[in-house]
């Protein structure tokens, strides 16, 4: 009897201009597990995540997915429209205005910023808005590329405990981060 995986990456290699970025990376993501991708700047963390998402193609190797409810991705770029208010941005991300959202907004101290244009928010506040999508997601796999860049201590703790809860709910997480997130995760290092 084989265990079912959500994502199975086998022997992934990636070359840019004939230069190897990483080689022979294999792993499996099962439900209720977290993978922490580490590595120095430019070691290929973002690239690997994009391969998993199916945006980029690996030079060699395969990624098999076995998902029923899709993935939720947050990358370096936060996909917010700077010229729209927070509220409009939430609409764009199909986030309904409901109780859950309200309590979340209060938790991350953004309840009074709903009608502020995103470009007027601080760096960390923008990141928090982008994370709302993650906090309210309904997919079984979260793919997070350095999710706590620019967050203050309180928000980082909030994120960690959220991720812990998600794991407890049988969800899976792949994330990259230079900061340790206090999460029980298998780590994959891309430096060679």
């Amino acid at each position: 009897m084989t265990m079912t995986y959500l994502i199975k990456a086998e022997n992934l290699s990636y070359k840019i201009n004939e230069k190897k970025l990483f080689q022979n990376i294999s792993f499996e993501v099962n439900s209720n597990s977290a993978i922490h991708i580490t590595g120095s700047n430019g070691s290929g963390k973002t690239t690997l995540l994009r391969i998993i998402l199916g945006i980029s193609k690996p030079t060699r190797g395969t990624v098999e997915t076995n998902l029923t409810s899709g993935m939720c991705y947050l990358g370096h770029k936060n996909a917010l429209k700077q010229y729209l208010t927070v509220e409009d941005n939430l609409i764009l991300q199909s986030i309904q205005h409901n109780k859950a959202l309200d309590t979340l907004l209060k938790d991350i101290d953004l309840y009074d910023k709903l009608d502020v244009v995103v470009s007027n928010l601080s760096f960390g506040q923008q990141k928090k808005i982008a994370l709302l999508k993650v906090f309210l997601n309904e997919s079984e796999l979260l793919v997070l590329d350095e999710p706590c860049v620019g967050l203050d201590g309180k928000a980082q703790n909030f994120l960690t405990s959220f991720l812990q809860e998600e794991l407890a709910k049988n969800k899976s997480i792949i994330f990259s981060s230079h900061i340790n997130l206090n999460l029980d995760a298998k780590s994959i290092n891309l430096d060679n």
């Binding site: 998402l53 945006i55 991705y73 990358g75 770029k77 996909a79 429209k81 729209l84 764009l92």
Partner: protein, 215 residues
């Protein structure tokens, strides 16, 4: 059909995206009689020349960063991850741009036509031509812009230019056809035919190009 609502929401706030081109159109059409002291017949002659060029320019302006913005802020990535049919989304996006810019521009163009030629029939006949040609222009420019998404280069313009010139020639012929009461409907059907091909193919090509860009 969320995409429709989303695009509208974005455009509403980003008046630069749609009101801008329309305004530029109005300003061109308003400004051109100022530039030379025309006699009235001359005005009429030059009018159509200006009209087509204005429509072309406005569609160019309108599509300038139709994909670039989404690319830069990461929305395009999200779109590729979360939508099954990228080309459908792109088709809808172009449609919305046409509805918000192409249709008003066509209307305004017809009104100017009425004002300058004082011929109600002319204005009425020119309207569908404007509608179709603006849609074709939009599609072609979108294609060009998708090609040069990240390069910030003129490649888009260079590539689309040869595609546009034949269309301009046809548009010139249409005006003559109307003036002489000749085969106007033949031209209309020709344009419709071109449009119906373009409308299907261009979004497909664009979605392919965009995926390649993100890779």
């Amino acid at each position: 059909m969320n995409i429709l609502y989303f695009e509208l929401l974005k455009l509403r706030k980003k008046s630069r995206g749609w009101l801008g081109p329309i305004l530029v159109f109005i300003l061109i059409m308003t400004a051109f009689p100022l530039t030379v002291e025309f006699l009235n017949e001359d005005l009429e002659q030059a009018f159509f020349s200006i009209l087509w060029i204005a429509v072309l320019l406005v569609m160019m302006l309108a599509t300038e960063d139709i994909f670039l913005e989404d690319y830069n802020d990461g929305s395009l990535e999200q779109l590729v991850i979360h939508t099954e049919s990228l080309s459908f989304v792109i088709g809808v996006k172009i449609l919305i741009y046409w509805a918000l810019i192409g249709i008003p521009v066509s209307l305004i163009g017809s009104i100017y036509c009425l004002g300058i030629t004082s011929s109600f029939e002319m204005a009425l006949l020119i309207f569908p031509v404007l509608l179709i040609s603006s849609y074709i222009f939009l599609n072609l420019f979108c294609f060009g812009n998708s090609l040069t998404l990240t390069k910030g280069s003129v490649l888009g313009t260079l590539i689309t230019m040869p595609l546009l010139l034949p269309l301009l020639v046809v548009l010139g012929k249409v005006v003559i056809a109307i003036n002489l009461g000749l085969n106007y409907f033949d031209f209309l059907i020709l344009l419709l035919g071109v449009l119906s091909i373009i409308i299907v193919i261009i979004p497909l090509i664009i979605s392919f190009v965009i995926r390649a860009h993100l890779e």
